[in-house]
Symmetry: C2
Subunit: 672 residues, 2 copies
């Protein structure tokens, strides 16, 4: 029935691939972080793609209850697979990632166990970890309440010590003290790591962590005086709705004293509170690790959206047919490139920053082991800023990719709506992005003040030791190609970041009340923080491309992407660069022209540059982003699977449509 | 069981309301566009809110089939209500808007009937409109195909005239010619207005419109050789999934010759194609009307998100508790204001532009009746640009409001995820926003060229007749308050828009091939178009606040919002203003300070300024945005309605969770 033209996309992509100028396999290895990581990823991606239990196409079509049940099945099956095949921790993590559906096990492995490791004494770890490792208990991380998320110190749940029984009494004194949001809590977990105010001897010692069993290990019913349930539907069809984010209330629930996590503080039998002399900073290593994961994930999520948008843009043709030649591929429109290629470069940038953060984690860990806390404030600020920036840009970037696909991007079949819905809470959890940037700004102000009194800034803040130079120098660019000089680029980002920070610092210093001056100036402080974070990414990208990188033309392509990344930021934020007086408008204009030259350098490699992410069709889950480019055939075929198409005449016809068409709206039989 | 603190939000909002400085009722009348429109809206909003058939809370929880069936029921019930109560067209439109669920009747009334009116002869209208008016037929608008959306001239469906039977033969020759997207087509419509290439005497006369019956009026089955169905799930839980966007293929389907809409062209019995001598521009009036509706809708959708975010930000407290005082309302943080208040001002701005566009529509209609086509290019560009700009900002603004609500914004109970998902395709349909801006840019270049040869630009482009002045003058601002001078503000936006346009114009003029220069320069051209559109909105807002406006302090508040709107654009796009040399960085810095002073002026009125939108709780559909501020009670109560909470022990427990917990993953009984 259907004529020619099918599979037209196939040829387009083949042509694109043939025209690429760099060695694809070397680029894949570079992005994976080496042969071993590449092999693991490939093996796990294929394992998931080939196991029908992990099929995910249906998830936007089934009701939530079924969707949730399916996710329990997948989590159980994943666990079985891990045990059967004796997968390593690295492999297991990858396996879960490729299943691509949030579930209780993410929290169990990603939050509950790490928190135990970080905050429990060795004795406590000995008691709890073996059970957790074999999933004989399932744990969640119950911190946020209805009334408090960002302000953890404001949590209201109480854990009051009762010396007479050697127990803590957990209680939810107000509506707003209801635990609210913890993933896995709603329906799956047997245990919760509950953050509550520790009260002993009528004194409030602030928020501490307690292990609380919430469901029976026999029949899964909630324990007495525990109220627990799911908090309801979230953004997106499938998305995060496979997760049972939960609510939890305690009505004087008793737990043994030993269930308080006691690495950093203890309560004795007698109810005496004793803070340990272990430095609290020990927990920072874990935080760096988590944030490194977030930045790497940002790169992966964005890479999925960019893969879909680049491939589809190469297949989609619209307008401009001339002299028997087909229409223009929309990827050839400069506006499409202007929106899409900087995102492609961003994926590479974040990937490289992720590698660097792995090093940073090791460095911090080693320092902590040696009781060297000197770099912590800088590391804290840097990773907070990178978390904020990469998640914000990635979320917006996914949506931009969706819009770049025109109408078809709005179908779940494009894979993009779900990708956005499931990713976007990363802007909110693990620290609200706005609040994190304000933390970075505080660090910058402090660093500037300390630099003024002789303390040399370290690491990513080192440039703030160079204020004199950075606030007086002018950009040397006189021709467009000058922008390709790494030291020129670096200086521009350093000068801009330094100048905004100094400007803010002077205004806060002058103010009588520095706290209210901080609030007053916070929009500018956010800009200072963003400039700082952009500088970090640009500088790490530049550092990377100055190293040797194997593979024909791989390094050259990365250089193009690095310059494109930096120039795209620069032109998008030209107001900053101009206002601080570092650049002239002519230099900005040269930057824009140079940016377009880079678009042209990316264009023939665009499809190969997304092929290098090496995503399976299964993982992408997109009819538009298919490797084979056979877009229209699959959109058409898959549409028929919608539940609405199960019956030819729609179910509501007799009750609700026919009466309209036949003007039979009234009468006893009418259902209207 | 639950202690104190409930309803705490109630008091916060009451205090906020008591502190407002302007007359709320007068502002409501202003925003509604007068007493009559206000009354109609109120009556229809209440009618919907009080009729349980229109309840919408469940829509994110039910499976799509049920959701769709419910929407059919609502549409039928709305129709019954309209007939029973003898509602006017104005009332009916409002009623459908407040039901707040896309459905086939939107397309029937909003596209099918208007297209008949615009493109059918009087005789044809006589035949078809009475049936359509009583809904004895249901029509949809079938233009877009799998392969072509933006490029309408590229559509592939054919309508070949067969003189031997006096019929057109409709056919879908390729896969990509499949009609794809038309709302109401998938399951509801009996008729489609099909856009197809008219072929007669072996000659292709391009795309024309044909009325095609697609389903039986007796039993609703598809007619022979018609393949029709739904295209599948779209972004969001409920959202646009109540709509049956459809696909449609013809296998040589015959329709009478008279089913071609013949106002602008006819085909005779003999197969001769005759273009009428009626000017094609007559259709432009309808286009202005549609775009006016889109801009007004943008204001309404954004107002819903802003209402929710402002109210919740006044209720939400986080950090900063001091000396027994409660924590800070997050609306008091400058970063929150910086993100939220410009959006509040934007709602007012778009509302005012919507009013102006109503005037524009009347003006154009009158001119067309007098065969005066002189303003059409300007009107076309202006309305295209405003469609693009207002829908883009509104979509992003809704998401920003959602993020401003922290974690709780991610719950569908906040109302915001659905609002975004259902709104965002406005960026794509009725013209892809990017393509529309490129059209505006083409108009600007042409206008500049014509102005160079003496043709005076008109209407919103009049400033381009003043190039000499605008490209040489400098901004006069020397103190922050100078920014409050309307003529200062206007000149700034005119100078910036003019300079960007002139810069592009010169580069395109210099180029040997102007078409490829246009593509090359298109990112800058998009900026030129945006600057032009922002100028239009700023200037219309300024014009409005220079008129008399009744009600105590209403005019003053609008002045504050007008200045805030303009300054927020100016500071966000400072790069343009600086690069064109019109502003100094000191003047930008003064603008930022002045902007904060305006935040402070808005702050005590913020809650009243959203109350003025007069949304019912039903229409908002948000636990966070409730008028009474009783946020936490309702979040908590409504969570229990989730299907996952129907059973205490979750449905998948025995099959998928227990085997994990009990290490019983293997064996014949295992479902894992
Ligand atoms: C999908 C998802 C999963 C989650 N999983 C878990 C989990 O497993 N366990 C758990 O415990 N929690 C979890 N959470 C909760 C999450 O950690 C919180 O939602 C998050 O910390 C944000 O806090 P909030 O909602 O209180 O935001 P709020 O602090 O209320 O933010 C509201 C607004 O106020 C602004 N604001 C607040 N304070 C300031 C300030 N000082 N200065 C300037 N602006 C300010 C914010 O920027 C924001 O715009 C999850 C949340 C989501 C969405
Ligand atoms: C919810 C929804 C409802 C709809 N309802 C209807 C309906 O009732 N009836 C109907 O007929 N249709 C309907 N449509 C279809 C809609 O009109 C089209 O999807 C829309 O016109 C966009 O066209 P496209 O998908 O072909 O985008 P494309 O043109 O394929 O756009 C893809 C990308 O290419 C870019 N691009 C394309 N051409 C150019 C160019 N010349 N220069 C620069 N960039 C370019 C675009 O900017 C975009 O980034 C609906 C769509 C949606 C999402
Ligand atoms: Ca759903």
């Amino acid at each position: 029935m259907i004529g020619e033209k099918e599979g037209a996309g196939v040829d387009y992509l083949a042509e694109e691939r043939a025209g690429a100028q760099f060695d694809l396999h070397s680029m894949k290895l570079f992005l994976a972080g080496g042969q071993h990581a590449y092999d693991v990823s490939k093996r796990m991606a294929d394992l998931v793609a080939n196991d029908p239990v992990f099929a995910k196409e249906d998830r936007v079509r089934v009701p939530r209850k079924e969707h949730y049940k399916n996710s329990l099945r997948k989590a159980g099956h994943a666990w079985k697979t891990i045990l059967e095949q004796g997968l390593t921790e690295e492999e297991s993590m990858k396996l879960r990632a490729f299943i691509d559906e949030p579930t209780y096990s993410d929290l169990h492995w990603g939050m509950f166990i790490p928190a135990l490791k970080g905050q429990a004494t060795e004795e406590q770890q000995h008691k709890w970890l073996p059970k957790a490792y074999k999933m004989a208990i399932i744990g969640c991380y119950a911190q946020t309440e209805l009334g408090h998320g960002s302000n953890v110190q404001g949590l209201e749940t109480t854990a009051t010590f009762d010396a007479s029984t050697d127990e803590f009494v957990l209680h939810s004194p107000t509506l707003t003290s209801t635990k609210w949001w913890p993933g896995g809590l709603g329906k799956a977990s047997t245990h919760a790591l509950v953050y509550a105010r520790l009260i002993t001897d009528s004194q409030d010692y602030g928020v501490h962590a307690f292990i609380v069993q919430i469901r029976s290990l026999e029949d899964h019913t909630p324990l007495p005086n525990v109220t627990v349930g799911d908090i309801g539907v979230k953004f997106g069809n499938g998305g995060y709705n496979s997760m049972d984010n939960g609510l939890l209330r305690f009505d004087h629930v008793r737990i043994p004293r030993e269930n308080m996590l006691m690495k950093l503080a203890t309560v004795t039998k007698e109810g005496k509170y004793i803070r340990s002399n272990k430095p609290r900073q020990l927990g920072y290593g874990a935080m760096v690790f988590v944030r490194q994961g977030i930045v790497t994930d940002a790169s992966i999520y964005l890479s999925r959206a960019v893969t879909i948008a680049v491939r589809y843009s190469a297949i989609r043709r619209q307008f401009g047919a001339k002299d028997d030649k087909p229409e223009v591929q929309v990827i050839d429109y400069r506006t499409q490139q202007y929106r899409l290629f900087p995102l492609l470069a961003t994926v590479y940038a974040y990937r490289i920053v992720g590698f660097w953060m792995k090093w940073l984690y090791e460095d911090v860990t080693e320092r902590l082991n040696n009781n060297d806390f000197s770099t912590l404030p800088e590391v804290h600020a840097c990773t907070a800023g990178l978390k904020s920036m990469t998640t914000a840009i990635t979320a917006d970037g996914i949506e931009e990719c969706r819009k770049l696909c025109g109408g078809h991007g709005y179908l779940c079949a494009s894979g993009l709506p779900e990708l956005y819905a499931v990713y976007v809470p990363a802007c909110t959890y693990e620290g609200d992005n706005n609040i994190l940037l304000l933390q970075v700004a505080r660090f910058l102000l402090k660093t500037l003040a300390q630099a003024g009194s002789g303390t040399k800034p370290v690491g990513t803040a080192a440039y703030l030791g160079n204020i004199q130079h950075l606030t007086s120098v002018n950009c040397k660019v006189s021709r467009g190609e000058d922008w390709l000089n790494p030291s020129v680029m670096l200086e521009a980002f350093e000068a801009r970041a330094a100048r905004i920070a100094v400007g803010c610092g002077m205004r806060v210093a002058k103010a009588p009340d520095s706290e209210s001056a901080f609030n007053e100036l916070s929009p500018e402080l956010v800009e200072a923080a963003q400039a700082h974070c952009q500088l970090i990414v640009v500088s790490k990208f530049i550092e990377q491309v100055q190293k040797d990188i194997p593979g024909e033309w791989v390094k050259q392509q990365l250089e193009v992407l690095c310059n494109l990344y930096a120039l795209s930021l620069l032109t998008a934020h030209s107001g900053d660069f101009l206002a601080t007086g570092y650049l002239t408008s002519r230099q900005v204009s040269l930057a824009k022209d140079q940016q377009k030259a880079l678009f042209s350098a990316v264009r023939p490699n665009a499809v190969a540059l997304v092929d290098a992410f090496d995503h399976t069709d299964n993982y992408l889950g997109s009819d538009l982003g298919r490797y084979d480019g056979d877009v229209y055939t699959h959109l058409y075929k898959n549409a028929w699977k919608d539940p609405l198409n199960e019956s030819v005449v729609t179910e509501g016809y007799h009750d609700y449509l026919r009466p309209v068409l036949k003007q039979q709206l009234w009468g006893p039989a009418s259902k209207l």
